[in-house]
């Protein structure tokens, strides 16, 4: 099938290498300037950064959807398992084993849940093969709620369920590298926790994950390796645990510096007037910044 025409499936070195990548939108907007990122064959890598740092651009360059946004690779390479992906379209990326879950979920709202999952198989060739059935069973095991809602329109699902469907749809293709664009966006805290658990499980089952997130606390907790993008350049990189302890990341992305200051200020009077209003006000504030 489609998979076999792409050389040895598991050559051990199936890493994604993004090397000195330059991407521009239109003629002048430089979105990425010499970005180098490596995602090994297994584990979770996260890319952090503020709005407009170039996180989504990086994913588009990997998944071959830059052209839909009038963007183009101007320099550098994207390769997966030794094969170059520059200039290939998204269908080629899917056949190579890279599938992206788009930002904002983007399920096909007027199709049923079952049809959405079927759509995940469109890039792989066989919709009725044994492998397709296996993939479907695996997805429904991971997300039992999707089995209950199978014949509902996807547009009627809650935000969290839509995110599960979007991830499930991507898993149908049996990717070896899953690209996740802001999976926690707009979800309730409890749902963020569930999605994080799912991402961890997917990685445990052997699919490499490249996770783009604004919720740095969740992302750094999940990931093995982290990159921080800033205005189109890699500013910091290293093991996620180390990065989480650097002052810069704590201040800019975890908001801990400020939160501690508020905490510290609040704690002293709190000792005197146990549990007064300012101490309670500080707690939600901290979570909002996280």
């Amino acid at each position: 099938m489609a998979r076999s025409e792409n050389g040895p499936p598991h050559s051990g070195g199936d890493a994604l290498r993004v090397d000195r990548l330059h991407v521009a939108y239109g003629r002048s907007v430089q979105a990425l300037r010499g970005v180098t990122v490596t995602v090994p064959a297994s584990g979770i890598v996260t890319v952090l950064g503020a709005n407009g740092a170039g996180k989504s651009t990086l994913l588009r360059a990997i998944s071959g959807t830059l052209f839909l946004h009038h963007g183009a690779i101007e320099g550098g390479t994207v390769s997966y398992g030794g094969r170059t992906l520059n200039g290939r379209d998204s269908a080629a990326a899917v056949r190579a084993g890279i599938v992206q879950v788009p930002e904002g979920r983007r399920v096909f709202a007027r199709l049923s849940v079952a049809e959405n999952l079927q759509a995940g198989l469109l890039g792989t060739g066989g919709r009725r093969s044994a492998r397709a059935r296996e993939a479907r069973d695996r997805v429904l095991e991971l997300f039992p709620v999707l089995a209950e809602r199978e014949h509902q329109r996807a547009g009627l699902l809650s935000g969290g369920e839509q995110q599960m469907l979007a991830i499930g749809r991507a898993l149908m293709a049996g990717p070896r590298l899953l690209l996740l664009d802001e999976p926690s966006l707009g979800l309730a805290p409890r749902m963020v926790g569930r999605i994080a658990g799912v991402v961890r499980e997917i990685a445990r089952q052997g699919t490499a994950v490249l996770l783009v997130e604004q919720n740095a606390a969740v992302a750094l907790d999940l990931a093995d390796t982290a990159y921080v993008l800033d205005v189109g350049e890699v500013r910091l990189t290293g093991p996620a645990g180390d990065l989480a302890r650097t002052d810069e990341v704590r201040r800019l992305y975890l908001g801990e510096h400020d939160a501690q200051a508020v905490d510290g200020a609040a704690r002293e009077p709190a000792a005197a007037t146990a549990g007064t209003a300012p101490a309670r006000a500080a707690a939600p504030l901290r979570r909002w910044r996280g």
């Binding site: 998944s63 071959g64 959807t65 052209f67 839909l68 009038h70 379209d89 998204s90 269908a91 990326a93 899917v94 056949r95 599938v99 992206q100 879950v101 788009p102 983007r106 399920v107 096909f108 709202a109 007027r110 199709l111 049809e115 079927q118 759509a119 995940g120 469109l122 890039g123 792989t124 919709r127 749809r169 991507a170 293709a173």
Partner: protein, 296 residues
């Protein structure tokens, strides 16, 4: 009452032919986001090819050749102009199809001249009796063929990979692309299907009791246009309902012309547009159109 049932049957036949054309509009719109104004010339092309070849190949053979030729022509338009131009706004492409229509129509009109070409259809001028209703055989054939083709179309749309790709892509191009849908192939097939359907429609538009193919036959496609629009433009089912509505309206307006004289002659040719405007006044996105209004 005989008259009403005859009119209704004629309207149904007309509507099913419009449906073949309107589905073409809808498929292309869903796949490429473009209103294909070149559809009229494609229809004329289909009719012309069939008229040219029916002596040598027989009617059935000529229809096959005509359908294939028109599908190929539609595919060429897609490859050259719609895909080939790359990053161009959709409304520019829509206007471009008007240009293609003018070029193709001009060439075909030059070849057809002022003749009326027969397509060699086997139905002649016979009328079939159903109870005490008289209807031209060609009209019955139109209904039967349209029902079969539209049925096949809907089954394909619902159950094949191409259909799923089309439905997914028309909802969210980027998400579909991320699933590995080969958009170029899906689009090309959509144009070819639309072209083929237009050629079949040409057969029934020119069959008895109509005198035959002439230079203005393509213009009939413009009546399927309000059918597609009032159905919602991106809904295949809507196009089907819209076509039947337009066909029936036209047949009724023609049948009761004498009572409608107050509005002037030839009300029937205006009727489809009146229906379209009335529907759009109540439902701006058409009967079954999606709410999204950002497309051209």
């Amino acid at each position: 009452m005989t008259k009403l049932s005859e009119i209704a049957l004629n309207g149904l036949a007309l509507g099913s032919v419009y449906a073949l054309i309107a589905l073409g509009f809808v498929v292309i719109f869903k796949a490429s986001g473009v209103m294909n104004f070149a559809h009229a010339s494609l229809l004329l092309l289909g009719g012309y090819v069939i008229a040219r070849f029916h002596d040598e190949l027989g009617f059935a053979g000529a229809v096959v050749v005509g359908v294939l030729a028109t599908a190929a022509a539609a595919g060429v338009i897609e490859v050259l102009f719609i895909r080939g131009l790359g990053k161009v706004e959709l409304h520019v492409l829509t206007i471009l199809t008007i240009g293609v229509d003018i070029l193709l129509t001009t060439e075909l009109v030059r070849r057809i001249g002022s003749d009326k070409l027969s397509l060699g259809d086997p139905w002649g001028t016979d009328a079939a009796h159903i109870g005490d209703v008289y209807v031209a055989e060609a009209r019955i054939a139109a209904i039967v063929v349209a029902v079969v083709l539209i049925g096949v179309f809907f089954i394909a749309f619902r159950f094949t990979s191409w259909g799923l790709s089309m439905r997914a892509a028309s909802e969210d191009r980027e998400a579909a692309a991320l699933m590995g849908v080969r958009m170029k192939r899906v689009q090309l097939i959509a144009w070819c299907v639309a072209g083929g359907l237009a050629a079949v429609a040409a057969v029934f538009l020119t069959a008895a009791p109509t005198p035959g193919l002439d230079r203005t036959t393509g213009l009939v496609a413009l009546k399927a246009f309000p059918a597609a629009v009032l159905g919602g433009m991106d809904s295949a089912l809507g196009a089907l309902i819209g076509s039947l509505l337009v066909g029936l309206t036209e047949a009724l307006a023609a049948g009761y012309q004498s009572e409608l004289d107050a509005f002037g002659g030839d009300v029937s040719s205006v009727a489809p547009y009146v229906v379209m405007i009335l529907v759009l006044l109540v439902r701006p996105t058409g009967l079954l159109g999606s709410k999204e209004l950002s497309r051209v």
